[in-house]
């Protein structure tokens, strides 16, 4: 073993990632005995950034979550019925297939299907899965965190009336003011106050969930396309419900465009309308997911090295890997803020451009 001095030093940092690492540390060993297969980094990463019906903090340390499905009526049961199903064979576990014959459902790669006549998953049938998955649980957790934080901040304003802010109020006030004065006000203009509650909630929701995603064992909520889709759709709806005549007129007849070009310009403008929320959706999803993938890939290097070199190779490379991982984590902290900021800024700008008054008077056309 390479028990170097450096190793013990970095062991402190390693603690931060132990919850992550332990989970995979077991897996390859397990695989090794079972099927002589190599550690599959792709599968490991996908497993960690995808949603799940249980909240796994570390290998073997997981909380079952409620499964809620709509299949000719609402059915609610614990996800442990799948993960600890008596009907799941060892091979089923390897393939992430968890049938439960008593319930008549099978959880296959985190999708719920009814068990067909042949005893396999009936993938034709549509079961609507409204389960409190890991992401939904994280969503609820973040909502509670946000409510607790901001009601206590709000209380600070009545408690410290006419006095300097204190505690968490003084920490968050500059950020709230930054969003209000540097992002929303310049982008939207004088009517900014109507949109402020949504934009502030948006910013802090994304930021807090980005940060929760960085906590080892946390869910990859803002890196989930469903979440960013909803945010983008709400932005789209707000932009188009507050849009004035000028905005829609501009879509049909862009100013200063020759008539001959209109057949090209109108489709471009209309694509642009949908491209804006689409880019919002993809940007947040891709940035956060990419960050998670990079960190997981770096950590996966330890196990790849272990598979290649055997013995203590994994331990040997871990100090270096941990430095990189730590570095990436710090960058991800920045990205967490940055992406929340960008989403809020772009949403403000889209709202601002939709309620903007006509410029034509200024140009003197």
């Amino acid at each position: 073993m390479f028990q170097t001095l450096r190793h013990t030093f970095f062991a402190t940092f390693a603690l931060l990632f132990v919850t992550f690492s332990v989970a995979f540390a077991e897996e390859p060993a397990h695989d090794h005995e079972a099927k002589e297969s190599k550690f599959n980094i792709g599968e490991m990463i996908m497993h960690h950034i995808a949603d799940a019906h249980e909240w796994e903090f570390a290998h073997g340390l997981s909380i079952p979550l409620p499964v809620i499905i709509y299949d000719n009526g609402v059915k609610v049961f614990s996800s442990s019925n799948f993960y600890h199903s008596p009907d799941a064979t060892h091979e089923d576990h390897e393939n992430h297939v968890y049938p439960n014959k008593a319930l008549g459902y099978v959880l296959e790669h985190e999708h719920i299907y009814p068990i067909g006549a042949d005893g396999k998953a009936n993938k034709e049938a549509h079961v609507l899965d409204f389960s409190i998955t890991k992401n939904v649980a994280s969503l609820l957790l973040s909502a509670i965190i946000l409510l607790l934080i901001f009601t206590s901040v709000a209380k600070g304003y009545s408690k410290n009336k006419g006095k300097a802010p204190s505690g968490i109020q003084s920490f968050l006030e500059p950020i709230i003011l930054f969003i209000r004065d540097e992002v929303v006000k310049p982008a939207i203009g004088p009517k900014y106050e109507r949109y402020l509650p949504y934009l502030l909630t948006l910013f802090f929701f994304i930021w807090v969930n980005n940060l929760l995603g960085l906590v080892p064992g946390g869910a990859n909520l803002t890196g989930n396309i469903a979440v960013t889709l909803i945010l983008a759709v709400i932005t789209f709806i707000i932009v188009h419900f507050s849009a004035n005549k000028h905005y829609f007129a501009h879509l049909i007849k862009p100013t200063g465009v020759p008539v001959a070009l209109l057949p090209i310009m109108i489709p471009v403008e209309i694509v642009g309308v949908f491209m804006k929320p689409f880019s919002l959706m993809v940007r947040l999803f891709a940035n956060i997911t990419a960050g998670h993938i990079i960190i997981l890939s770096l950590l996966g290097l330890i196990f790849i090295a272990n598979n290649l070199g055997g013995g203590g190779t994994g331990w040997a490379v871990s100090p270096l890997v941990l430095i990189f991982t730590l570095f990436m984590n710090v960058i991800e902290l920045l990205v967490a803020f940055l992406q929340a900021f960008i989403f809020t800024l772009l949403t403000s700008m889209y709202i601002g451009s939709s309620i903007e008054e006509s410029h034509e008077a200024d140009h003197g056309h």
């Binding site: 950034i49 899965d129 389960s131 304003y157």
Partner: protein
């Protein structure tokens, strides 16, 4: 791909939770926070305005004070000046009057002295005449007892008369 297909359950929960979150935070957090911030900004602004106003008032007060002071100084100067003038005038008048009075007194004194002298001279003349006559009588009586003496007297008188 799995990652790019949004799950119906998460879409549903996300929509519900996020909309509720916006609604609750709007009432329970953003409204009081924004009101608190606005109130504080208002307070700071009004405090600044008040300070500015107070400073302007102070400046005005100071300039008023200076003006008053200058006015008081000017008044004092003019009072002093007029006082001095009147004092000078009084002194000059007094001097004039004293001069005139003095002259008059001197004139009177001179006149009185003159009168006195004239009277005294007259008196003296009269007495001298009387005394002279007495002396002359006595001398004559004594001297003119003999002839030589008479002659001598005449001669002396003549001499005297020439001297006078």
């Amino acid at each position: 791909m799995e990652l790019l297909t949004p799950a119906i359950g998460l879409l549903f929960w996300m929509l519900v939770v996020f909309v509720i979150l916006v609604v609750i935070l709007r009432v329970a957090a953003w409204k009081p926070i924004m009101n608190g911030l606005k109130e504080r900004e208002h307070q700071i602004q009004s405090a600044l305005d008040l300070a500015e106003k107070t400073r302007a008032d102070m400046a005005k007060l100071q300039s008023d004070n200076e003006k008053l002071l200058a006015q008081a100084r000017a008044e004092r100067d003019s009072i002093l000046k007029s006082a001095k003038e009147s004092a000078d005038r009084l002194i000059a008048e007094a001097k004039d009057r004293a001069g005139i009075e003095g002259k008059r007194i001197i004139e009177d004194a001179r006149e009185a002295i003159n009168n006195e002298r004239v009277a005294i001279v007259a008196q003296m003349k009269k007495e001298i005449v009387t005394i002279s006559l007495d002396i002359a009588e006595k001398v004559l009586r004594k001297e003119l007892g003999d002839k030589t003496s008479q002659e001598k007297l005449v001669a002396d008188l003549a001499k005297e008369a020439r001297l006078n």
